[in-house]
Point group: C2
DNA sequence: CAGTAACTATACTTTGAAGTATATACATCA
DNA sequence: TGATGTATATACTTCAAAGTATAGTTACTG
């Protein structure tokens, strides 16, 4: 169940539209709600553009149920961002550091769960009340890039800028590919990877 | 008056806090409200995070006045985006085409009115009801870049992606510099310019 | 100095969505 | 088969902010 496993392509609430007693245990239902909420929040356009009715509809559940698992809309949203952020982080960072395959793994994750990727970096990243989570992710990534940059970049004052921009280029390269309809999937990862590398080198050594 | 002319740095409603009869004619007041709204919408975080009370406070005016100049909140917001978008466009495109100085002029405009720049590309660009305007701007820029790219980029399917990403890199490079507190202002334009050029070349010729 | 347009002040209605309450139905499992 | 917990259904309260109405005040203009 959920975007991490190969299913749930459409909105498809659940099998029968009404009445059906206990289907899932607490933990499973909670996860399934987070799945649905990720999709709803991402496709509607972030926190304030998404109502709990939207989420409930996607989950195939009454709005009441949401309150049995989460204290508030904000609480649910944070759960969504937490899970997505964690997955993103574990794609990028292994054993406490980023390696040559980090970007490839992030791309892989983004292909698998584009809703989560878009939600994090297109929407939540701009929301005053929630961007903290995403900013931290970015800071973490930038920090890992920094040491490498300091070898190449000469001017002290531009190191931070270079690190931030590098992170954004990775994100935007993936986003643009998702938005373009994920063309040429065979070579996509490779292509994006090489483009990012080239761009980053160019920027760092200006 | 307004971000395009050197003043209005602070929130500073207007000279005296209460009572002061007719100050501005219709046209001037309208422009001044758009100035204030640009600032308010940008700093509060976009359309839905900004109330008309916020705008009125920055403008140093009653909320009623806003309704004398605009039919609704959405109407005001569109006026704000229209004006900002127009200025941005005229910075980028001269005599119907982009030249070697286009990026430099966009940077210049962004430095002059960072609120407008952020509002357009950080917030409005992600808002379902308003992103159309900004998407068009981006499409326009991408279209101007395309011909150049087609010389370099081999694979047909990746031209669109390259054009989009190029546009985003220009935007993000400027944004990152604004967010970093506009360091090293002397060489900023030059530095950003060279970085963008390098990155774009790297991406196009992957 | 009179008239008009710009503005203030205050109070009101409307709206959409969050959050609450309670009674009922059905599935599962001991 | 009946106790337990998951879910439905419906109706309600609350709240923030948009939008409306109206009466009064001050500045500028002819």
């Amino acid at each position: 169940m959920g975007p991490m496993t190969p299913d749930s392509a459409g909105p498809a609430p659940h099998s029968s539209s009404t009445r059906g007693g206990r289907r899932l245990g607490r933990a499973e239902r909670r996860e399934q709600i987070i799945d649905a909420a990720t999709q709803a929040f991402s496709r509607e356009g972030g926190y304030s553009h998404t109502s709990l009715d939207d989420v409930a509809a996607v989950a195939g559940v009454t709005r009441m149920i949401l309150y049995r698992h989460f204290n508030s809309k904000a609480d649910l949203y944070e759960a969504v961002l937490d899970r997505a952020g964690e997955r993103m982080y574990h794609a990028a960072v292994v054993d406490g550091e980023m390696d040559d395959d980090s970007v490839a793994r992030v791309i892989h994750w983004a292909r698998e769960d584009p809703d989560a990727f878009r939600l994090l970096f297109r929407f939540a990243a701009q929301e005053p009340d929630f961007r903290g989570e995403i900013d931290q992710l970015k800071v973490g990534m930038s920090a890992h890039i920094r040491p490498y940059l300091e070898e190449v970049t000469t001017d002290e004052r531009w190191v931070e800028w270079t690190a931030q921009l590098t992170t954004m280029i990775v994100i935007e390269a993936i986003m643009a590919w998702l938005d373009a309809g994920q063309p040429d999937p065979e070579h996509a990862t490779d292509r994006i990877l090489r483009a990012v590398e080239g761009a980053v080198n160019a920027i760092a050594s200006v």
